[in-house]
Symmetry: C2
Subunit: 319 residues, 2 copies
């Protein structure tokens, strides 16, 4: 089946490439470690030119053979590839922003093989503390279809995003550094010293962490409750292999406690890696959030729709 | 002037030794890097015996010459030296605890030179989430003299403690991992990448961090506001050399926001390194805490009083 579009989800630490066919069906996909902070550096010949640019090298590794086979394929990309440290900076769009309209604001960079890469701009909120996203706006668009007028979309990760969407517009979003904090605390703090990896998910320890975050003790904030990951070990209440999931539940619980109260009554859609979304779904249940569902293939669907909006592919081709 | 007591404040990363004369006056003091996690390992002869035990080596380096000169001097020590990973475990005492009474509960370990080291027990609170201290109980005792019946004692550091004292008893305390979090975020997270050290204290950036923690944005918790240390850099509102003090103010602000509201009306005493206490004093002012003062020489005074209570030295010798 001939492809219609190459879609790249190009973040800080990874690069996912999708070859999409009619109606955006995924014909083939690849995951590379070539995030913009981990680009290849070994010079190589591309389209007859000796090339040492990391973006060109990663791009060629991700989809050079697809382009060799179908040279006219349009290419669209989202994520940190459009940041100031990326391949070509795609200026942020301000909230409130109609996510479908981002297709009219693509930035273009011409690769050494003569193919244009169309880069989706990120979104910035400048009310109160500034907040930024790159890549998540595309995932948001990718899951909106068929949803009601008001939804809250959670994108758990190193820097979890919670995005409020009203009538297809991102009206507000927050970022929580939960995943990165879990990683640095486990690797570099006192808390990591007594942790041991568990063979299985330690559900009771995770739930306990969530409940502590929601408790009266949790009101003092995460700087205070963090120390319980150590003291519950000292008092024999948490085994070393329960401590990582306790810490995970504690941090996720504090994140969810920071969501606006009104969020409890909105439909919530979770987007991201399945094991992490499952943790969040469990924690959301403990926190009393009633309407939670998981979405799949958000990036590739969003990129398809933006390419349509940009005229890179034709609606007729969807049939 | 002949000494009366050797007092050791022996923590995780450092060992402070004091030679105290009549009435506890400091005759000489030393700071070594030989905390219990950084003990020396090079074997050496002590009192005619070849010794490879890290605690013996550090103890001898800290005050061996003082003991050679006055072999009968009593020795008292507080801090992590009494933990399970220390020289000899001094079991925790439960809250509420009369801090002066800890002098009756010293643990004793005999050094290779035949001198007993008397170790002060730590304190544990087992109401709600467990909380522990080792060393701070001695500092609390050291600053209590002359204070009113109810005080709140703040001991900023890697793991800041806030200790409520009523009539000489520790009734409740909290721990905040503020200092350690600042260190691991600056060294190992995304936030550190754009930070640059400043030549001077960046007061405006620090104050801004404190105010953000107290603001409506701060209600979402530190996991959320942390990201502003990055985004305010992205939007040009925080220069690289302002980012460390912004982060410091933000974390200290969240710590202080976690203190009970009633704390605002109690006298607050800060104990610790002067530059850090000055930061906390500034932040406390911004948070509306009215009665704040700084205390000095808390450890050595507390150890002196505990040695008196234990009968290691005689009150008459104070005259």
């Amino acid at each position: 089946m001939p492809a219609q579009l190459i879609a790249l989800d190009w973040g800080t630490s990874s690069l996912r490439a999708y070859k999409l066919g009619p109606a955006g069906v995924v014909l083939e996909q690849r995951a590379l470690a070539s995030g913009i902070m981990h680009l290849p550096s070994q010079p190589r010949e591309i389209a007859g030119v000796c090339c040492s640019d990391g973006f060109e090298l990663a791009f060629d590794a991700a989809c050079g053979d697809w382009l060799d086979a179908q040279p006219g394929l349009p290419v669209i990309a989202c994520g940190m590839v459009g940041s100031a440290q990326g391949w070509s900076e795609a200026a942020y769009r301000n909230t409130p922003v109609d996510v479908a309209s981002l297709g009219q604001a693509l930035n273009r960079v011409r690769s050494v093989r003569g193919v244009d890469v169309h880069i989706v701009p990120g979104v910035i909120e400048q009310v109160g503390l500034p907040n930024v996203m790159r890549g998540e706006e595309t995932q948001v668009l990718g899951v909106l279809q068929g949803l009601g007028a008001e939804v809250l979309i959670g994108l758990p990760g190193s820097h979890s995003k919670w995005v409020e969407v009203v009538d297809g517009c991102i009206t507000h979003f927050d970022t929580f550094m939960t995943g990165e904090l879990f990683a640095v605390l486990s690797k570099h703090s006192l808390l990591g010293r007594t942790q041991q990896p568990a063979e299985h998910f330690q559900a009771a320890a995770f739930d306990r962490g969530v409940r502590v975050a929601l408790s009266a003790d949790g009101q003092r904030g995460v700087l205070s409750t963090l120390f319980s990951a150590r003291t519950l070990g000292l008092t024999g209440e948490l085994a070393p292999d329960q401590q990582p999931d306790y810490l995970s539940g504690l941090l996720i619980g504090h994140e969810l406690a920071g969501l606006p109260g009104a969020a409890k009554h909105k439909p919530i859609i979770l987007v991201g890696a399945a094991p992490l979304c499952t943790r969040y779904q469990r924690a959301l249940g403990l926190c009393g959030f009633a309407h939670v569902s998981l979405a799949q293939e958000a990036s590739e669907r969003g990129l398809w729709q933006l390419a349509l909006a940009a005229g890179l592919i034709q609606p007729a081709m969807e049939a």
